[in-house]
């Protein structure tokens, strides 16, 4: 069972990296709004350029 001396620290390191990812996400504001991004990801349309002189171009 001496493998525990390796596996437990390994598990803790994994947990620590998950916590680090969470802290980074929070700090950069990714968790400020939990509602809108869920809807935004459904809008996978082409980018639209402005109606300059009434003409419209769609970037593919």
């Amino acid at each position: 069972m001496t493998v525990l001396y390796v596996l437990v620290p390994l598990a803790l390191i994994l947990a620590a990296s998950a916590v680090a990812a969470f802290l980074w996400a929070t700090k950069t504001g990714q968790l400020d709004d939990l509602e809108t991004p869920a809807m935004r990801m459904l809008h996978d349309d082409d980018a639209v350029t402005a109606p300059k002189d009434g003409k419209t171009r769609v970037r593919k």
Partner: protein, 819 residues
């Protein structure tokens, strides 16, 4: 948009053209254009459709259908956004971003679904010069960044408006940023505490299994040291929230729940570290980290629901117009109110708010000062009269020279006194915190008794039991009792249109106290209308015709009452300001106006009319006489009508044990007439009170007991912030929204009754929670003192008590569910 007017008669339209629906809003089209590919109900919808088509954004209609959103009329204000281009706007509301960009946050109206997210972001980024647009659906705010050399700010705003999202700059972005930092900090602490709790529990389970089936001492001490290591971030960093509260509680000598919590955490951690590295005795790291995590969850939930009320208040304030129209060299331009220089000439059109304190240079109009002074009747202003910021220009265009602007206006001085008044308010100590003082004392005494009583069994065993006692009685359920009950209640209250800015106010409102009502807009409707009519009904259509074109508030009140009368053609009409109207309608000569004005023009005034005028005077109604061809034929009584539900609601509040009072800035005669009309006994009735007098009144009464102030005006703001709980009602001034602790988005007095009832039920839930957790603490305390509680039992008992509190909080019926 004009569509509202057209939708008034859908049945007529359906009969004429059965199939034509507007391609944009889905409403029935009245005038069908033959052969056109799409039909539109109005030019507004047609132009929105055209904008979307030209931008390649027809998918809007698909997204809208996906979201299950039936077409609604796009609410286009077609307002002017010129003030967005004023240099002062950038200084006040925008921040410079890297790359020469400008960024700001706007509050958008009418944002509610996935299609809105798509439309707003696509439409905005389609403009050249916009680098980023991010909509926050839950807050209805759009963060936008643009290149000022390529696009004007006003263009962005107009563009948003043209697709149906009128936008407003948000005040207090700095404060928003501070709040956001606080929210993120708490969330980070919560995340670390959660990870620590989970991992500590995992490692602890190994030792619990070992306790039953045997474990080698080297592994046991490895697991114990591991759990100590895992617990450290939670105890040293996440739990700082509680240590800070505990230190503040000791320093200010106010009892606080954080103190017993901190004692439990610190004692448990120190003894746990000693035992983990000394390899004897018990460690409680799993219980301690779980405790920190659960308590932080409670705090975080409560913070989130309170933020909801705060941002709702901010949004209502953003809707209030904050622009002024400057007149420079004959041309006008719109600037933010804060940027009007002294001595400048400002144009105020009918229906607009007066932005500055100043003197009238040109024009005659009537001014509604009810929000500033509480006076219900509008006053007439002429050239060289003074007008004040915060009042509303009702009838005609005025040019005003700004004499006091920004922070010097009477309005700003009153708003400033709000901050001062709220500082003088004694901090509220909630029930749980009051209990915690006794709790700490009792637990420490029992711990000391345990040590002394078990000393003969050996010092290490005695200390062991005392530590177990302190850890297991660490009041998790007690600490959660209030936040959870309050979170559940605040969420339900918000659904009912009651925004409460903090749980302590709900607790306070449960106690019977003195409820002080401002009169105008709370007990009364807050606007003029016809309360009485006496005389010959055949004159009514003539009155309607004669008054139709006047912008005077009394004329508007008359017309609102006479909309059902047939319309007649007016042959001539002349208005005398401060007097009345002379008109010829259908061949009859009409004189309508104040008694003095009409008597001067009429040949006979019957005795019953004079009698009615006197009677109206006693009831504080303004009499309006109608003379036809020289005969006085009818009298209207005009005033601010008492709300229909006032008597019933006040009686309900009295039945709950509250006392009621009226504190109004209006004339004492008017106030007394309203009180008489309501028919419910009031403890105190005060009329003619200035904002300062209102504040003084609240101050003297707060010293005697809880005072709940209900108001809507700027003149109430300081009093609202000084009262035990300040409640702003629907449609009030923005200053009162900022000052109030609770505000209702539904109008009338019913929300107030609902608030008081809900507060009572919430306190009952809190009391139940506290009782449950005290019973738990007492039981496990006794068990721990007699040496029956080990780490495993503690780890099981603590969450069980917390779950009991969670269930009772969220199952309780505090506020009625949304119907």
């Amino acid at each position: 948009m004009t569509a509202e007017g057209l939708t008034a008669a859908p049945s007529v339209a359906r009969a004429a053209t059965p199939a034509a629906l507007c391609a944009h809003c889905g409403q029935i089209v009245l005038s069908v254009e033959p052969g056109a590919p799409q039909q539109f109900c109005c030019s507004g919808c047609a132009s929105v459709f055209e904008i979307l088509r030209a931008g390649g954004l027809q998918d809007f209609y698909r997204h809208r259908a996906d979201a299950g959103e039936s077409g609604t009329v796009a609410n286009i204000s077609r307002g002017s956004y010129d003030e967005f281009d004023a240099p002062e706007f950038a200084a006040l509301y925008c921040k410079a971003l890297p790359g020469g960009l400008l960024g700001t946050e706007l509050f958008l109206e009418n944002v509610h679904c996935a299609a809105c997210v798509w439309l707003v972001e696509k439409v905005v980024t389609a403009l050249p010069g916009i680098s980023e647009a991010r909509l926050d659906l839950s807050r209805s705010t759009l963060a936008v960044a643009w290149d000022p050399t390529q696009v004007r700010a006003a263009r962005v705003a107009e563009w948003l408006d043209s697709v149906g999202y009128p936008c407003h700059p948000l005040h207090g972005l700095d404060r928003d940023a501070v709040r956001r930092r606080e929210d993120r900090a708490l969330l980070m602490r919560l995340g670390v505490a959660g990870a620590a709790a989970g991992n500590a529990m995992l490692l602890a389970i190994a030792t619990y299994c070992g306790a039953f089936s045997g474990i080698e001492p080297s592994y046991l001490s490895f697991f114990r040291m591991g759990s100590a290591l895992v617990a450290l971030p939670s105890v040293l960093w996440s739990a700082q929230v509680f240590y800070r509260g505990a230190i503040a509680a000791i320093r200010t000598r106010t009892p606080h729940m954080d103190l017993p919590i901190s004692i439990g955490i610190v004692v448990g951690t120190v003894s746990g570290l000693v035992n983990a590295f000394g390899s004897s005795g018990e460690v409680f790291f799993d219980t301690i980290t779980m405790l920190v995590f659960l308590l932080l969850v409670g705090r975080w939930l409560q913070l989130r629901t309170q933020r909801r009320a705060d941002s709702a208040a901010d949004h209502l304030r953003a809707l209030a117009p904050a622009t002024a129209r400057l007149v420079e060299d004959g041309a006008t331009r719109e600037v933010p109110v804060e940027a009007v220089p002294k001595g400048a000439t400002v144009e105020i059109r009918a229906g607009e708010h007066v932005p500055v304190d100043g003197t009238v240079l040109l024009g005659t109009s009537t001014i509604d000062a009810s929000l500033l002074t509480g006076e219900s009747l509008p006053e007439t202003v002429r050239v060289s009269d003074n007008v004040h910021a915060g009042t509303v220009n009702l009838s005609a265009r005025l040019l005003v020279r700004a004499e006091k602007t920004g922070q010097e206006t009477r309005l700003a001085r009153i708003v400033a006194s709000v901050a001062e008044a709220s500082e003088r308010r004694a901090p509220m100590v909630i029930l749980a915190n009051r209990l915690s003082a006794y709790f700490v004392a009792i637990i420490l005494v029992i711990a000391a008794v345990t040590v002394i009583a078990t000393w003969h069994l050996g010092p290490s065993l005695a200390i062991e039991r005392a530590v177990a006692l302190l850890v297991v009685t660490c009041p998790c359920a007690l600490g959660l009792a209030t936040p959870l009950a309050v979170t559940a209640a605040l969420g339900r209250a918000a659904e009912r249109g009651l925004m409460v800015k903090g749980g302590q106010f709900l607790e306070a409102l449960a106690k019977p106290g003195l409820i002080v009502f401002d009169k105008t807009g709370t007990l009364t409707e807050g606007h003029l209308s016809v309360v009485e009519f006496e005389g010959d009904p055949s004159v009514r259509p003539f009155v309607r015709a004669a008054e139709a074109s006047s912008a005077h508030p009394i004329a508007r009140a008359l017309c609102a009452d006479l909309t059902k009368e047939p319309s007649l053609a007016v042959e001539s009409m002349h208005e005398t300001l401060g007097g009345g109207i002379e008109a010829v309608v259908g061949g009859k000569r009409l004189v309508i106006g104040s008694p003095r004005f009409v008597e001067a023009h009429a040949e006979t005034v019957p005795a019953w009319v004079t009698e009615r005028v006197l009677a109206f005077g006693e009831r504080a109604l303004s009499p309006v006489l109608v003379a036809v061809d020289g005969d006085v034929r009818a009298v209207f009584g005009i005033g601010d009508p008492v709300r229909a539900e006032a008597s019933e609601c006040l009686a309900a509040l009295r039945a709950m044990g509250h006392r009621v009072a009226v504190l109004s800035g209006d004339q004492p005669a008017v106030v007394n007439a309203v009180v008489k009309r309501i028919g419910v006994p009031f403890e105190i009735v005060v009329g003619g009170a200035s904002p300062e007098a209102k504040l003084a009144f609240i101050e003297t009464n707060v010293a005697r007991g809880p005072v709940y102030m209900v108001g809507d005006g700027v003149n109430d703001a300081a009093a609202l912030s000084r009262a035990t709980v300040g409640i702003a009602v629907h449609g009030g001034a923005e200053a009162s929204l900022a000052a109030a602790d609770v505000f209702a988005t539904a109008s009338g007095l019913r929300p107030i009754v609902e608030l008081c009832e809900g507060a009572r039920r919430t306190l009952r839930v809190i009391r139940g929670n506290l009782a449950r957790s005290l019973v738990y603490n007492l039981t496990v305390g006794v068990l721990a003192a007699t040496g029956h509680v080990g780490p495993l039992l503690a780890a099981v008992l603590m969450p069980v008590s917390s779950i009991a509190v969670v269930t009772s909080s969220f199952r309780a019926r505090t506020f009625e569910k949304k119907r």
